[in-house]
């Protein structure tokens, strides 16, 4: 789950991580008031969960409160990569001697967290990483011991700092690591950390993504949706609220299956045969009739869908439960779209006889089902 910059910064400040002075505004006038109270020059930043806001015009500078109001008004009207800007952060502008990139990422290949750091921070960091990988400092962290103080000092040293500056940058990095531990950060990233004219450090930007699997440890975040509304379609959020793994795609053939790999393979198969899948929908292992019914109702409710392909390989899941779910939909809301059903495995005969008695036919092979769905969907 992604947090907004202002949220991440408020958590960071509680841990003693230095951030520029500022405040959050939902309207141009509020933004102006914040500037009035702080004085000086400010930066007005769009609060969005997608990355790349600076390049999309979501970050602007202002030297007078009236200007801040105008800039806030421009930014609050923006949609950045589809995400509407609802809040801006108005912060004191900190003149930078240098911009540093600090990131603590989940390193899948090494099964640990790894620090990525560079003294060439800023909006072009991705290009730096691509063209000058040697400019990125990497420090793997032992999962059991975590970040030790010398790990942090080692990074600061490699970034070219010495003396008091080395110690204070190491301290900041250690605190970012604490933030990632306390909130189960899948990603903690500050780009940039600004080295001020006076040689101090402050986190001018901060991103925090919480590992979704850890949300049970963070009840304060459990209530909110895990993804920004711009990244989730209404149908997706409806399906996920009801416990389905669901992703909407562009086509017209609805797909339901059990198991993420099997559903992905079913989508690929339909594409391979020239069809166009409308969604990814995994009812999960051991799904009961209700879950299957929910899935079918949601998938057939999409206007784009012309046909629904159900691919079940029952292991823990039972074919009779799947069949009952389909029949339930038929009786309660009706089958609104033609169905192609492939269903084999546990309790196959029971499941098939339930469907047959309702006049619904069932196929054995996945290839056959894929081909039939594409034929039906094209019609």
């Amino acid at each position: 789950m992604k947090l907004f910059e202002y949220e991440a910064k408020s958590l960071a400040r509680n841990l003693g991580i230095p951030t520029p002075k500022g405040g959050v505004a939902s309207s141009p006038d509020e933004a102006k008031d914040i500037h009035k109270r702080m004085g000086g020059e400010v930066v007005v930043k769009a609060q969005v969960l997608v990355a790349g806001r600076a390049k999309a015009g979501g970050v602007k500078f202002a030297s007078k409160p009236d200007e801040t109001r105008d800039r806030a008004s421009e930014i609050l009207g923006l949609a950045i990569k589809g995400e509407k800007v609802k809040k801006v952060l108005v912060e004191q502008k900190v003149p930078a001697k240098k911009e540093i990139f600090l990131s603590i990422v989940q390193d899948r290949a090494n099964k640990c967290q790894t620090v990525l750091a560079s003294d060439q921070g800023g909006i072009d960091i991705e290009q730096v990483a691509k063209e000058h990988p040697e400019k990125i400092v990497r420090q793997r962290l032992d999962p059991i011991f975590g970040m030790r103080s010398f790990d942090a000092r080692s990074v600061a040293l490699k970034l070219g700092y010495a003396g008091q500056q080395l110690l204070s940058l190491a301290d900041l990095l250690s605190n970012l690591y604490r933030l990632s531990v306390i909130y189960d950060g899948e990603l903690v990233e500050s780009n940039p950390v600004i080295e001020t004219q006076e040689g101090r450090f402050t986190t001018a930007d901060l991103r925090l993504i919480i590992d979704d699997n850890s949300l049970f440890r963070h009840p304060e975040f459990q209530e909110r949706s895990r993804e920004p509304s711009s990244e989730v379609t209404p149908l997706e959020s409806k399906a996920r609220e009801r416990g389905l793994a669901f992703v909407e795609l562009e086509g017209n053939i609805g797909i339901i299956g059990n198991g993420a790999g099997l559903v992905m393979a079913t989508i690929d198969l339909v594409k391979q045969y020239g069809g166009n899948p409308a969604n990814f929908c995994d009812v999960g292992g051991g799904a009961n009739a209700d879950q299957v019914a929910t899935a079918l109702e949601i998938v057939q409710s999409s206007e784009r869908v012309r046909l629904v392909l159900i691919n079940i390989l029952a292991g823990i899941t039972r074919c009779d439960e799947v069949a009952k779910g389909i029949v339930e939909v038929k009786k309660v809301v009706g089958l609104r779209k033609p169905l192609v059903i492939r269903m084999v495995g546990t309790n196959q005969e029971e499941g098939r006889s339930i469907l047959h008695s309702e006049g619904i036919s069932v196929l054995d092979g996945m290839d056959e089902a894929g081909k039939q769905a594409v034929l039906g969907g094209a019609g």
Binding site: N213, A245, A260, I267
Partner: protein
């Protein structure tokens, strides 16, 4: 015995009194797995399908020896359950549990490495040696004994492909799910290293999916070490959009990383034959192994 587990392997089920734990304990026992004890804190002294339940792994081992563990413990407690198994010397530890925080998984993997313990999963269907034993939740009837090893990141897709192989008379030596999470114990390369030395395996079917770089790593290993056994592969998620998690926590394309196209390309360069659709794996496997040609 083929890699990791065989007929002789004695198994402890952690979380045996839960829904999943008790259900699959019964199925494992029916398949022939030697489930010798179960562990659920606070339920010591009871029985599940006739199998004695203990409060700790250590007390289970005092009552009778065991080799391996299968963990069904809920995500919030799975880290410590796995560490308890590692502490007691059980090996391998098969973690069926889904939804374990990545940080917890990292700690388990580091602790296992220190202790020389093999972890399968988490978020895995487990491992089966067809005809001998299964440590996991896969439906036994999809598999049959033979000489093809199946290694996979997905559960149902493994059953799909193994069942097709079985249907065509091609048996399997081992079928193992490495798990659908971002952080897992065994990865493809680890399993390929075991298969390399395994006299019971003639060829390999590798089932990958989008996200991470486990397939690319496998391709590099196959190419650089001139892997001596033929490998056929299938990668799920060719049509998956970037930035969306496709069910599995680990199945997500981030930026340009983890795409099916990149994985297929590196596998093909390594001499692996990549199937367009899952059912083609049967044909490819038959072509690659002279003894299987009809």
């Amino acid at each position: 015995m083929p890699i990791l587990v065989g007929r002789q392997t004695r198994v402890i089920v952690q979380g045996i009194t839960g829904n999943q734990g008790s259900f699959h304990t019964r199925l494992m026992s029916e398949y022939g797995t030697r489930v010798v004890a179960g562990v659920t804190p606070g339920k010591g002294g009871t029985r599940v399908s006739g199998i004695p339940v203990f409060d700790t792994v250590a007390s289970a081992l005092e009552a009778g020896d065991a080799d391996a563990s299968v963990v069904f413990v809920p995500a919030a407690f799975a880290k410590e359950a796995a560490m308890e198994a590692i502490d007691s010397g059980l090996n391998p530890v098969v973690m069926i549990t889904e939804g374990i925080p990545s940080r917890d998984a990292m700690v388990v993997m580091a602790y296992a490495k220190e202790n020389g313990t093999t972890i399968v999963g988490p978020n895995t269907p487990g491992v089966i040696t067809p005809g001998e034993t299964k440590l996991g939740i896969m439906p036994g009837n999809a598999f049959s004994p033979g000489k093809v090893a199946v290694v996979s990141r997905s559960g149902t897709l493994t059953y799909e492909i193994s069942a097709s192989l079985t249907h065509e008379g091609i048996g399997q030596s081992t079928c193992l799910g490495i798990g659908g999470d971002p952080i897992t114990g065994l990865n493809f390369v680890d399993v390929l290293k075991m298969i390399r030395e395994d006299p019971h395996t003639d060829s390999v079917v590798l089932i990958g999916e989008i996200g991470g770089s486990a397939e690319e790593d496998a391709a590099r290993y196959i190419r650089e070490t001139r892997f001596p056994k033929p490998v056929a592969a299938y990668i799920a998620g060719r049509a998956a959009p970037p930035g969306k998690r496709m069910g599995h926590a680990g199945a997500i394309i981030t930026g340009s990383e983890g795409t099916a196209a990149a994985k297929i390309e590196s596998l093909t360069e390594a001499g692996v034959r990549v199937a367009e659709v899952p059912s083609d794996l049967v044909k490819l496997t038959r072509e690659q192994v002279p003894q299987l040609r009809q």
